[in-house]
């Protein structure tokens, strides 16, 4: 019957067109993938082992890092390990260098170091990739300080479990970073892993391994990395010198009426060393500092996003800020990082 035939022909056409569309929708497979061992071997030359301050009370004196420029700029985690004049960077070939701190961003908890050499392998930031849940990752780091000299960094594997905003505690305290992170099931939350490189399965840089953080809700330790996309602007600022304190000799643009520690109500510890860390000795009652909750023994780390490396530096930076402007301070109280804004009160 004609009706039956037409039905059959339409049905056949339906099936075949459906199959055709489905076939077009299928992603292309069958590409050769490089083995993890090949990828690991090719990225090791970019890894750096950092040794610095610490080595007491469970705070190890080492962490991980990686090269981001041919000329020896190194990206790492900003931590107490860098709290010394003698930071040692050991390259994958075993060469040791004294590293200088170029700058740091305390909110992102990253720092950039520089060593005096060139023609180095590095992770190019402009080819960094973004990751999605389920993507395979490799984490390169010197966790537990297992590798020394020219021994390669350790490599862990895993996947991105989620990409989500961070809300975690460090020790019992919060971290300042609230942006998106890659939550991993690779065990990166280990001593010395912070500052390591997170790559996709092809070895392309995706993020920097975070510090040892505990989740405030579940009380579990978190394996996470900060995506490169969140860091690039800050790294650019650091490289441009924007976090470096301005030179003591700079005389241009000094305001006539700058801030002073006295006006803010801050008395620092006696400046007896070449570079005395700017610890607060006393806060004057009823001062702007007191009203914002600054306390004795607080350590001033950054002033208007510039590193306060010493009492002298801090005073100089302050003298370049007009007293009508706000002073932004990032301070360290114990293990905690706090941000405060100080303003001189208007006199009636």
């Amino acid at each position: 019957m004609i009706y039956h035939e037409t039905q059959q022909r339409c049905f056949t056409w339906l099936i075949s067109s459906g199959l055709l569309i489905a076939a077009m929708a299928a992603p292309s497979h069958g590409q050769e993938t490089t083995s993890f061992s090949t990828v690991s071997a090719s990225q090791q030359s970019k890894m750096v082992k950092i040794y610095g301050a610490g080595g007491i009370k469970g705070l190890e004196a080492y962490q991980s890092a990686f090269l981001i420029s041919e000329k020896g700029h190194i990206l790492t985690a900003w931590s107490y390990v860098l709290d010394t004049d003698y930071i040692t960077a050991v390259l994958n070939d075993g060469r040791k260098f004294q590293a200088t701190l170029v700058g740091a961003d305390p909110r992102l908890e990253i720092a950039v170091l520089k060593i005096d050499t060139d023609r180095l392998d590095f992770f190019a930031r402009n080819t960094a990739v973004d990751l999605e849940s389920g993507d395979r990752v490799l984490a390169f780091s010197n966790l537990y300080g297992v590798a020394t000299g020219d021994e390669p960094a350790s490599v862990l594997h895993g996947i991105v479990a989620a990409k989500a905003p961070l809300d975690a505690r460090r020790g019992a305290f919060k971290t300042t970073y609230r942006g998106p992170v890659f939550i991993l099931d690779a065990m990166t939350n280990n001593p010395g892993a912070a500052g390591g490189a997170l790559t996709n399965r092809e070895g392309k840089l995706a993020g920097i391994l975070g510090k040892e953080l505990r989740n405030s809700l579940s009380n579990t330790w978190l394996n996470y990395a900060i995506p490169m996309a969140e860091l690039n602007d800050a790294i650019d600022d650091i490289l441009a010198g924007k976090t470096r304190p301005r030179s003591v000799d700079e005389t241009a643009n000094r305001p006539d009426q700058p801030h002073t520690l006295h006006k803010l109500g801050i008395l620092l510890v006696p400046d007896l060393l070449t570079k005395t860390p700017p610890y607060i000795d006393r806060i004057r009652n009823d001062s702007p500092a007191a009203s914002k909750g600054l306390k004795a023994d607080d350590l001033i780390l950054f002033i208007n996003d510039r590193m306060a490396e010493s009492c002298k530096t801090l005073k100089n930076e302050l003298s370049l800020i007009d007293q009508i402007d706000t002073v932004q301070l990032i301070i360290q109280r114990g293990q905690e990082l706090l941000e405060l804004e100080l303003k001189l009160e208007e006199k009636n």
Binding site: I21, P27, F36, V39, A41, V146, T148, N190
Partner: protein
């Protein structure tokens, strides 16, 4: 109807379009064949490898761990720290749901390895050992074992991961449990995995799991586990089979990295073999064990994989000159030290002798003499050691300094019986006269008799006084004791290990200028120690080393050109070395040996 069909086509098209716009939605049947194939291969490798994995149970439920069978007759590997609490007899389960008795064979406390033997079968599924130096960072690997003692149904746990590092060094606890040259993996290794196998993706054995890095989370895996490389265990294999308590090696020197990143000798014992081979303070270590050395860890890695007593190649540099040599590795511990470190502390103090002294028993009570005695305290009830099952007791013999003397006798007899069958010199104790020559120097005649040992060498006549100690009779001069060595050699051939003195099986070790490893018997007689080396293929004795003193160079003799004479296989070429020099090559042309074995020795 037409409208319905059009609608069907339309909705199909829409849904297909929706699929192409959402790449994260993939239909189940679209998994690429390569992925399926890889999964099948992984499942097959795990299934094959699991067969040889064992769970080790200490008697009385005192703990346990894992292990792996490596030969069909049941020899298996585990950690020392798993075997120690288990004692000499333990039970092991296999995934075939059976429980087997096992006996301790040999232990390596420094390297944390133990060899045991499962009993009851000669067709155990065995793991295939491969070259662990081929393992690379990033390779897939898996661990099989009994973490958290979950294998109550005898089915082991499998954890998968990648190799995170190779040739890693982990410091010992004191001097034991040093993990040199180990494999680091992020496959989960937890308490209970110890002693178990680490396999490569193919299911071949690359290591024995035993340690991990732990910190704030306590003793649970945090992604960093360590396995002893199987290549290290291969070096120790003969030693483990010998049933002894093994020691690791020291060079007799310490090293450190200098400012320029070179590895330099910072201290050296003048009594060490390294010193006798020319190594001095300040020299740069260039290569050791055929590995380029660039860090102290790298040096320790090489040292950690060789047993005490092995001869290992060393290259060092001084003032731009390079020196290549072989160094005999001495031990880290004395036998007493090693025993002390691994022995368990005594179970409670014995009751103090106290109560009344004889002099106190004066009638009428006198003043007791001496200090007041402490009240006698009974000791804690002695814990009855679990009785060794009869099936295991057959394979166990206790002896001080040995994990299991049974296996030492077994191997000593294996090596000796094979050699003696061809040498066939048992009880030929009479006068032996060896005649030959030393090229370009002259003739040699050596007489080895019951009361008289003498020889005519080109440089003169020499003799050995059998009534005196051998360690000072090193004639002929420059040979290090050739005549004494030949006397001892004849003694072993004619009287056998039982009569020679204390002869034990050392294990297997390399020999200079030869490929592979050789069985070694060590015998002490008349204050000197002699090592006898046997080819494992042919059974022939290929050499000996006679040590007048363990801190001095030995007299080394290589035996070759074995020929059969009257049904006895005897060497016709002797290469003699002493220190850094070749003393002589003796070509023997004639052996005059008594025609028949002595009956009873008639003592005058």
């Amino acid at each position: 109807m037409k409208r319905l069909m059009c609608w069907c086509i339309f909705s199909l098209a829409v849904s297909a379009l929706a699929e192409t716009n959402n790449p994260s939605v993939v239909a189940a049947q679209e998994i690429p064949p390569a992925v399926i194939k890889a999964q099948q291969a992984r499942i097959a490798a795990i299934a094959r490898a699991s067969k040889s994995a064992i769970s080790v149970f200490a008697p009385g439920g005192k703990g346990g761990g894992s292990g792996v069978v490596i030969t069909p007759d049941g020899y298996a590997l585990t950690n020392f720290h798993v075997a120690k609490p288990a004692g000499s007899a333990m039970k092991c389960s296999m995934p075939d749901d059976r429980l087997y008795d096992a006996v301790i064979v040999g232990i390596d406390p420094v390297g944390d390895v133990a060899m045991i033997k499962l009993l009851g079968r000669d067709d155990f599924p065995a793991a295939t050992m491969v070259d662990s130096d081929q393992v690379k960072v990033g390779d897939w690997c898996f661990a099989i074992g009994n973490p958290f003692l979950l294998a109550t149904d005898f089915q082991p746990t499998v954890t998968y991961g990648i190799v995170s590092g190779v040739h890693r060094y982990q410091y010992p606890a004191g001097t034991l449990l040093e993990y040199a040259d180990c494999i680091q993996t992020d496959a989960s290794i937890n308490p209970g995995n110890s002693g178990g196998p680490l396999f490569n993706a193919n299911g071949d054995l690359i290591g024995i799991n035993g340690r991990g890095s732990f910190e704030k989370r306590g003793r649970v895996n945090v992604g960093v586990g360590y396995a002893i490389s199987i290549n290290q265990i291969k070096h120790f294999m003969g030693y483990l089979r010998s049933g002894r308590i093994l020691d690791h090696a020291t060079l007799g020197a310490t090293v450190a990295t200098d400012e320029g990143g070179r590895v330099i000798v910072t201290n050296i014992l003048e009594s060490s073999d390294a010193y006798r081979r020319g190594l001095r303070y300040g020299d740069e270590i260039v290569s050791f064990g055929n590995r380029r050395i660039s860090t102290v860890n790298g040096f320790k890695n090489v040292l950690g994989i060789f047993p005490r007593g092995w001869r290992v190649p060393l290259t060092y540099q001084r003032d731009a000159k390079t020196y290549e040599t072989f160094v005999r590795l001495s031990g880290v511990h004395s036998p007493e030290q090693l025993l002390a470190k691994i022995q368990r502390p005594a179970q409670g103090a014995p009751p103090k002798p106290g109560g009344e002294r004889p002099g106190n028993k004066k009638p009428g009570g006198g003043k007791p003499e001496g200090k007041p005695q402490p009240p006698r305290r009974p000791g804690p009830p002695a814990q009855a050691a679990p009785k060794m099952p009869a099936a295991v007791a057959k394979y166990f013999k206790a002896r001080r300094g040995y994990a299991n003397y049974y296996f030492n006798t077994l191997n000593r007899n294996r090596v000796w019986d094979r050699f003696a069958a061809e040498a066939n010199c048992q009880q030929l104790d009479g006068k032996w006269t060896l005649s030959g020559k030393i090229a370009n120097r002259g003739d040699v005649e050596i007489i080895l008799d019951e009361q008289e040992i003498r020889a005519d060498f080109p440089q003169g006549q020499v003799r050995v006084d059998l009534t005196k100690d051998f360690d000072t009779q090193l004639a002929p001069a420059g040979s290090g004791g050739l005549l004494v060595s030949l006397h001892l050699w004849k003694k072993l051939l004619t009287t056998g290990p039982a009569q020679f003195g204390d002869v034990y099986y050392l294990g297997t070790a390399p020999v200079l200028n030869q490929e592979g490893v050789y069985d070694v018997l060590v015998g002490t007689r008349n204050v000197v120690e002699t090592r006898f080396m046997f080819d494992p293929q042919s059974g022939k004795m290929i050499g000996l080393e006679m040590y007048p003193d363990l801190s001095l160079d030995p007299c080394e003799i290589s035996f070759s050109d074995y020929r059969e004479i009257n049904g006895r296989s005897l060497p016709h070429q002797l290469k003699v070395r002493y220190g850094n020099n070749e003393f002589a090559v003796v070509e023997l042309t004639n052996y005059a040996i008594p025609a028949q074995k002595k009956q009873e020795t008639k003592k005058p």
